[in-house]
Symmetry: C2
Subunit: 307 residues, 2 copies
């Protein structure tokens, strides 16, 4: 692929098309996720899974599949990819609770606990964790993947969405509030909080596609670096963005006294740092022989986005 | 086995011995559960997993293994069994939170949120869910179980600990507070809230031991019925017991206006019902050709216990 091919890639159209495919798959896997649940739990689970979003994680998962296989991904890959969105959704539901970030709005829509109360939101969030494992396994079976791969998929998702990954990062993030952190500590937080699940998105796509160890490692590195760049840009947008475009309250980090990338490196320095991580991400793919117009365009999109 | 052999079974000594083995295994799997977690998360996870308990679920799991195999269970079976205790522990941590049951003490010890605050308790609880999958998988590997069984174990634990099982039951239980329920609704709640995870304990032991479908179904039926009996006896003890022996606040159900088995059937009627479920549980085992002195004695213990 040439530089001009990447430059000519229509990222917004690609994202819109992919988001539609993910949303269709998400509607389907919602049925697997809530199967057997009592109605009082099904409602907040459905509501949570219908939260609008960029769907970046499943889009990355399907793109990783294509990067490894070279042909288009069947619908079951999108359903498999949605398992990561289910875990991401649980984290948003819990994050928004009063004992955590206490947010009443998410993408302009009342948060789950605002609609269903704290108890139902908390239980619905917790129920999404095992539901994600089921969604993943059902989709993996319809892809004809063998038990060893299905086992590996669930364990990888658990690792990324658990104590050493996302949940650990959330706690470190909350513990770091109103405390001065250095760049290393901040990176550790965001590698866990955001990077781990993004890396898992790519890994799951790669695992489902039958990628070898080197390709999986490269996809994981790309995902982790992309996660960091994403978080840096989030921090920048928190300073420069407006609430309507972000779908959340801007300026929240500063008022909470949080250490952010802009507070450590300034706005220009933060943008350069994000660009450097993106560059590293693409180098990792190339080193493993992975040439993916989509993944390269997605990486550039993450640093160039304005909301 | 003769009736006198069961009658002669030293259940208290058996439970004490088994509890020691489970506690030793739990200390080991705690390391797998917290591996890679940041210290601020590791502490409340460790504290939660060190909550004293009857360890009924892992004891049942190991007993199911022996019932199928006929010889003693290696230590790895106890570590595998502890995965269920990890899920049970997460549910206790979340149940005790102010937005749920709001309990300051559990078995006479300050609850996790009392010691570490609501946020850390909530995150530690959530982190225990994927941690349980890892604990299960690591133990299953050391038992030499193949990928298909390891996959089945994790999925079964997710099913029982999720929306259609335990979490669904918890929500129904909370939603039913201060509302008059009939016997059928009450049974549905407790089959999910308590029965599902107890049934999974037996199933996991059976799966690990290589039980056939009929044996797994019987173990599951036994577990579900045992769970109901256990809950009925819990309701009875809430009326008749004292706080010190129970390790929690007695009379709480009545003051919360909850429908309980004693409120529907009286104390004597409730005890008879518990005995009937226990009897059904043992019949199910016998019908599948499972003769287990331990499982029969455990079933009787559940209805005869005084705390």
């Amino acid at each position: 692929m040439t530089a001009s091919a990447v430059a000519g890639f229509q990222i917004e159209a690609f994202l819109a098309r992919e988001r539609d495919r993910v949303n269709a798959a998400l509607a389907e896997v919602t049925e697997d996720a809530v199967a057997g649940a009592p109605p009082a739990l099904r409602e907040p689970m459905r509501y949570a899974l219908a939260t609008p979003g960029k769907r970046l994680r499943p889009i990355l998962c399907a793109a990783a599949w294509r990067a490894v296989r070279g042909d288009d991904a069947p619908d079951a890959v999108y359903r498999l990819a949605c398992a990561v969105e289910v875990v991401h959704t649980y984290s948003l539901v819990h994050d928004d609770l009063p004992c955590m970030d206490d947010d009443a709005l998410r993408r302009g829509r009342p948060t789950v606990h605002t609609v269903y109360g704290n108890t139902r939101a908390m239980l619905a969030g917790a129920a999404l964790i095992p539901a994600a494992a089921r969604v993943l396994d059902v989709a993996a079976r319809s892809l004809g993947l063998d038990a060893e791969v299905r086992r590996a998929l669930v364990l990888e998702l658990c690792r990324a969405g658990g104590a050493e990954g996302m949940v650990g990062g959330q706690l470190m993030d909350l513990a770091g509030e109103a405390r001065r952190l250095d760049a290393r500590a901040l990176e550790d937080i965001h590698r866990r909080k955001t990077g781990a699940l993004l890396a898992a998105s790519l890994c799951l796509g790669g695992l489902a596609a039958g990628a070898d160890e080197a390709a999986l490692a490269a996809l994981s590195t790309y995902g982790g670096d992309l996660g960091l760049a994403f978080q840096i840009v989030d921090d920048v947008l928190d300073v420069t963005g407006d609430a309507a475009a972000l779908g959340k309250t801007a300026g929240k980090d500063e008022s909470a006294g949080k250490t952010t990338y802009p507070s450590l490196f300034g706005l220009t320095g933060s943008k350069s740092l994000a660009a450097a991580f993106i560059s590293d991400a693409i180098v990792a793919l190339h080193a493993a022989g992975i040439r993916s117009e989509e993944l390269e365009a997605l990486a550039r999109y993450v640093v160039e986005r304005t909301h």
